[in-house]
């Protein structure tokens, strides 16, 4: 079965290959993502994140504490390059909320018995079971790929400048991060893959080595000079299955 919905500001596609998988857990997945949008969107004045930012929340919920703890972990790990509290800007934990919430949504499907499914949330992928063939969009050509992965039980996240422009800031300078065109991270969970990809993108070119040094993370980065930097363990598909064009 397959379903596509637009939620949290991006398209979410799910494909489940388990036979006769019921629809209710998929409804629960999308209901959870809509709930996350209502609670954690900085673009909604009544969200918990917006209220916290205005000083109206004394005790953040368990979920928001998890998100803010992750944000702080990555801020420290990047020496301040990744920072969700930049001067003069509203609190914006979107980069962490996305991976964290989509991973929890995928866990709902697993708990309901799904063993082979592929969940794609705005270009961030959870591949459960497998193997799945995941293409990475070429940073300069929307209809082409720059690499293809064979993955089983892995998450793949890509941060890039090509759709929303210079939207990721380097917290150390307060200026847009421009050292990389595209940063793809493969990790056991999307919580980690997405946060590491965004944090590495904020670091710029040094982010490729920084992400590759993290345990269980494999990277494929395209720098501003269009050079590819990838880790030795990056699960690129065998050349036999890829038609170079």
């Amino acid at each position: 079965m397959g379903r596509v919905e637009h939620v949290m500001g991006f398209p979410v596609s799910v494909r489940i290959d388990d036979e006769d998988f019921p629809g209710t857990p998929v409804d629960d997945l999308f209901a959870w993502l809509r709930e996350v949008d209502a609670r954690f969107s900085p673009f909604r004045p009544d969200s918990e994140v917006s209220r916290l930012d205005r000083g109206e929340v004394r005790a953040p919920s368990q979920g928001l504490r998890e998100v803010l703890d992750l944000c702080e972990e990555y801020r420290i790990a990047t020496g301040g390059a990744f920072d969700v509290r930049l001067p003069g800007r509203r609190l914006d934990p979107c980069a962490v909320v996305k991976g964290w919430s989509v991973q929890k949504g995928a866990d709902l499907l697993s708990a309901a018995g799904a063993t082979r499914f592929c969940l794609n949330a705005g270009g961030d992928v959870i591949a459960s079971g497998g193997p799945w063939r995941v293409g990475v969009r070429h940073p300069e050509h929307a209809d082409r790929l720059c690499t293809v992965l064979d993955v089983t039980d892995r998450a793949v996240a890509t941060s890039a400048r090509y759709e929303r422009g210079d939207h990721i800031l380097d917290g150390r300078s307060g200026r847009p991060a421009t050292g990389l065109l595209s940063m793809t991270v493969v990790a056991p969970t999307l919580t980690e893959a997405d946060a590491v990809a965004t944090a590495a993108f904020a670091l710029g070119r040094e982010g490729a080595g920084w992400a590759a040094a993290r345990e269980n993370c494999e990277v494929f980065a395209v720098d501003a000079d269009r050079r590819v930097l990838r880790s030795a363990g990056f699960p690129a598909a065998g050349a036999g299955g890829v038609a170079a064009a």
């Binding site: 398209p11 596609s13 794609n120 705005g122 995941v134 293409g135 929307a142 790929l145 345990e215 050079r227």
Partner: protein, 134 residues
Amino acid sequence: MKRALPVLVLSVAGLIPLWRYAPSHDTGSASAATAPASTPSVSSSGGTTSTVVSGSTVDTEKGPVQVEVTFDGDRIASVRMLRQPDHPQTTAAVPRLIEETLQAQSADIDTVSGATVTSDGYKESLQAAIDARG
């Protein structure tokens, strides 16, 4: 190997509150044990205050670790290693990245990873074609 990094990060994280809380609770001998090893050096330029603090040396299983944290006002501007274990495993933790030429290719795939955020972007995307195929 890669485990060395989390250890260092934890060391940094552990040192920051020690320093930050030391001044306000500096009532004498009680805080002496947790005070940083060196006196913070403060310099001002153009309205922002930059403070450099050296942490005390922490003994890890790989050897002694000491960091220096530069604060820009209240925020951490940078973290620098003053001492790190001179251990073969730590050296090996620096990953070797393979450099390649960027290629454009087509292939039969199940899904696409890439920043696909806007509706217009999605409509034009390979992922939309895959979803439509069902």
